[in-house]
Amino acid sequence: MIIDEIKEAVSKDFISKNTRQDGRNFLQYRDITVTKNIIPNAEGSALAQIGDTKVYAGVKIDLATPYADKPDEGIIVVNSELSPIAHFKFESGPPTEESIELARVVDRGLRSSGAVDFKKLFLEEEKVLSVYVDLAVVDHSGDLIDCSYLAAMAALKSTMVPKYEDGKLLHDERPNKLEILNDVVCTSFEKISGKLLIDATDDEELASSGRVSFASCDDSHFCAGQKSGSAGFTVKEMDSMMDLALEQRKLLVSKL
């Protein structure tokens, strides 16, 4: 706790002088790399890295019974694990509220955007495909939401759908790509000493009083939003963050 306060003070000190410890400006991402098909056993996979932050995403496809209220639609399930390998603060055990929030915010964007056409996941009566997107955070150096979006989206774009034959799914035969209709990416803003910046490191997150994330599915539409942390945001701040999120969109999409 006391060490955190020291780190927090350092982050705040830099930001109050309009600079950051790694020299970036407030609206600049660290280096981003996305590597697809990194886990060949999975139907789709990717490793997304933003600076030192590393998130794996794997897509598995299974047979499922559709939900009663949507009998002709497939299912998507997003889960995340904040593994203890990623940060000394993460503990093994049941999912924490941070990990549930992360998975649900990613889920919301993927679902709302219509990136996956659920009707196309329908096979026959009472049989649909279920797309499981699992996020494994392995190195937490901040900005997990943006990085998780990149990993999930890239993994979905690399997904090959197993062949369905005689009521069974053949996992070793994957003839078709999973059709993805749009690119969903997310930019998160942190409020530190009253200033807004993107792509915060974990040390900067310690100093943050609040975060707002905006996911977009094209150049003018948002498909998920989430505010976290105790800070309040004015409508003006929200307005400018929405503009800035769309400005960052091109860069993020180019990495997918």
């Binding site: 999912p95 929030e101 505010k227 929200m238």
Partner: protein, 239 residues
């Protein structure tokens, strides 16, 4: 009665006869529980939400103790009988845990937590009947319950959801508008600081639509605040 998507907005009227900016009937009663330090019951449309406040008290588990401020916990829980559909599971699910987290952030903002170091304040939100907008109803009720408990707060806060049907922005979505509409954007505001304390967005929106939603939400919050204030004053009437 089942409502279909094309019945959500007909000639500018919503399925229950409201216009896009109208709120459902809203009533709040402060101090409804004996044991809790503060409490409130909200009846908002068909929603019935009960909130109880305990604390400030000792932190549990002890190692989470913060020596500079009070911790805030929010438990949002839907009763298994609250929906018009099938029997629900008891206890918080993943959705409820996420709602508890973002609701907690609202109260970390407005409670003067530095007045009570080394303590914990518990806010229990029980959804007894749900009909769309339960998280904002719960937070609006919780703000009244906190005031009723005498826990120092910067403001009373109000939550309202905005949504969309045929690209028309609506406030205060009911269950049908939430399930069948084109968007759900629950927001909690503090009118004193003019700030947004909770914001979530689902489905596809343009920036202009989001901003329109905010404007309508701030207007609706003024109406809710009036009712909140009256409910708290009601308990301290002369005679």
């Amino acid at each position: 009665m089942k409502i279909t998507k094309d019945q959500l907005l007909v000639n500018g009227k919503r399925n229950d006869g409201r216009s896009p900016d109208d709120l459902r009937s809203f009533k709040v009663t402060a101090g409804v529980l004996k044991k809790a330090k503060g409490s409130a019951m909200v009846e908002w449309g068909k929603n019935k939400v009960l909130v109880g406040i305990y604390g400030p008290g000792e932190v549990f588990p002890k190692h989470l103790t913060n020596y500079t401020k009070a911790l805030v916990n929010v438990r949002y829980s839907m009763a298994p009988f609250c929906g018009a559909e099938e029997h629900g599971r008891s206890g918080p699910n993943r959705r409820a845990i996420e709602i508890g987290k973002v609701a907690k952030h609202v109260f970390e903002n407005i409670i003067l937590t530095r007045d009570f170091p080394r303590t914990q304040i518990d806010i229990y939100i029980e959804i007894l009947q749900s009909d769309g907008g339960t998280r904002v109803a719960g937070i609006t009720a919780a703000s009244v319950a906190l005031a009723d408990a005498g826990i120092p707060c910067k403001d009373l806060v109000q939550g309202v959801s905005a949504g969309k049907v045929n690209d028309t922005v609506l406030v205060d979505l009911d269950k049908w508008e939430d399930n069948l509409g084109e968007g759900d954007c629950p927001v909690v505001v503090s009118l004193r600081s003019n700030e947004i304390l909770l914001f979530q967005l689902d489905e596809v929106w343009t920036k202009q639509q989001v901003l329109q939603g905010f404007e309508k939400i701030f207007n609706a919050a003024k109406v809710l605040r009036q009712v909140q204030e009256e409910s708290l004053k009601e308990n301290y009437k002369e005679g």
